[in-house]
């Protein structure tokens, strides 16, 4: 992106040309009007509705939040959601880093093959992928049958309805969200820097720790934030594979559509919304302070 003059008052000739040109700031503000109206009516207003609903209750405005905080069951769901999101994020990072590293060094057909293996699951419906995991993990599922045939176990392992299967499936669904940002960071790393480190006598481990890892950090943080935020609000897989302990999105759905307790559902949704926004803003700040995440020309 070309540098854009910050102040409207600047009136150097090229800038004036820009303003008279097809993209005058006034004309562009008009272009923005339709999408802005759409988002206001069907995005901002709904979110505001959720917030306002969360304040409605029998007595004071904060009844629902008091209920959320004092009810042990709700607190445990929130804590469990955090724990699962954290575990899924760390698991996905550990699995993704070597894959992104390997794929970032491939060229030609092998690269396309690997990208296909990453992108096709990415674009496949989460319902379908969750179904596949049920087929694999259930009591008489693919995995248990195979293990029993091999004589590794005597009776089926309990892999669904207890959180284990849910986390395996969630991690599977989140992997592309982790691999893709890592891959884009790693493809931007200049191989000459590693060669330079090697010439200076650094062994591969040293090259990795003091050159490669720091340079891939923007990809790590982008992937982790993306996976963590998505896991926090995940509904489909926890609803189908989760056990007694549910995640917060499932609880919101239960409260709203089955128990018709909209105020409590709205309070939980508001908490989820604020957490997500806060994490995202923190992440944006971090990106800006490290100078990562910007198009190449802009930092120079």
């Amino acid at each position: 992106m070309p540098p854009v003059p910050k102040s409207d008052a600047a009136a150097s000739p090229p800038h004036r040309l820009r303003r008279r040109a097809w993209s005058p700031s006034r004309g562009n503000a008009l272009l923005l009007l339709p999408p802005l109206l759409l988002l206001t009516a069907f995005f901002i207003v709904p979110l505001a509705t959720v917030f306002i609903q969360s304040l409605s209750g029998d007595t004071l405005g904060l009844t629902q939040y008091r209920e959320v905080v004092t009810n042990g069951a709700t607190v445990s769901v929130l804590l469990y959601t955090f724990q699962v999101a954290l575990q899924v994020t760390l698991g996905a990072l550990i699995l993704s880093y070597p894959v992104a590293f390997m794929v970032s060094r491939l060229r030609g057909n092998l690269l396309h093959l690997c990208l296909g293996m990453i992108l096709i699951p990415f674009w496949t419906s989460t319902v379908i992928r969750t179904y596949a995991w049920i087929v694999i993990l259930q009591r008489r599922g693919v995995l248990n049958e195979a293990f029993m045939d091999l004589g590794l176990i005597e009776k089926p392992l309990r892999l669904v309805s207890n959180g284990v299967g849910m986390q395996i499936a969630m991690m599977h669904i989140m992997l592309p969200f982790m691999i893709l940002p890592l891959l884009s960071a790693m493809r931007g790393i200049d191989g000459n820097l590693l060669r330079a480190a090697s010439v200076m006598g650094a062994n591969p481990w040293r090259q990795f720790v003091s050159v490669y890892l720091p340079l891939s950090l923007p990809g790590i943080s982008a992937g982790c934030v993306l996976v963590f935020i998505t896991s926090l609000g995940f509904y489909i897989t926890p609803a189908l594979l989760g056990g007694q302990r549910t995640m917060v999105a499932v609880l919101i759905e239960q409260q709203a559509s089955r128990l018709l307790n909209w105020p409590l559902a709205s309070a939980l949704a508001t908490i989820l919304l604020i957490l997500t926004c806060a994490l995202f803003i923190l992440y944006e700040r971090a990106l800006r302070s490290t100078g990562g995440g910007r198009p190449a020309g802009e930092t120079a």
Partner: protein
Amino acid sequence: MTTSAHWRVVGAGITAFSVLVLVYLVVPTLVIVPLSFSSATFLSFPPPGWSLQWYEAFAGSADYRIAIFNSIKIGVPAALLATIFGTLAALALVRGSMRGRRPLSALMLAPLILPQIVLAIGLFPIMVKLGIIGSYPAILLGHTVVCLPLVFITVSASLRSYAPTYEMAAMTLGANPWNTFRFVTFPMIRVGMVVGFIFAFTFSFDELILAIFLTSPATRTVPRLLWEQLNYQMTPVIAAATVVLLLITISLLIAAAIVNRYGRGKEKAAFE
């Protein structure tokens, strides 16, 4: 020598680990394919015999036929609306110089990042108030909002891929804003718009949470039907339906890749 051999082993280890992870990524979807051809009425693996009965059941099911029709009836206009609104937003925010472009861009991306369950329970009372809950407009508008970021991303990327000097050149040669858009900007971002449209359609075709809250049995989409069936019973019909849907998704992705490759080549040729 021994240390270099040591690092070769480490390298081989990384490759082996990566291949295993890629297998973990791909295998779950592949497991469904043989199950869909099973002769058994329950999910057992490997299947005891082969048959096409589940595909017949799928083809003969009115529920699936209506759901697929609904998904298309919602997905195509939603993707079209998202393409129009997303392109307008990208033009304004990438080329414009007004204040507050950073927060406005964040707003355009927000529907993709925020949990859909929150949007779903916010949209529900609004659609009830508007009197359109369960009807086409309700889910259409919901899907347009969540698809808009995908078009915004792809069209913004196309706009950033070339300098605004082309547009300025057209202007200094006397083209009015509309002609500049028609003959300079549009040909350059056309590919981004088509790819954004395909992504938006794919997203709408897969979306479940808004569909649970905003559709009725008459307007329910494929993911919602699959969801209801999964909560009821697990017959291999679901596997057959899944394979058909997978083929649709994969062919859409291949179409996007072809458009991307072919279009980029043409763009370059136009300016040589």
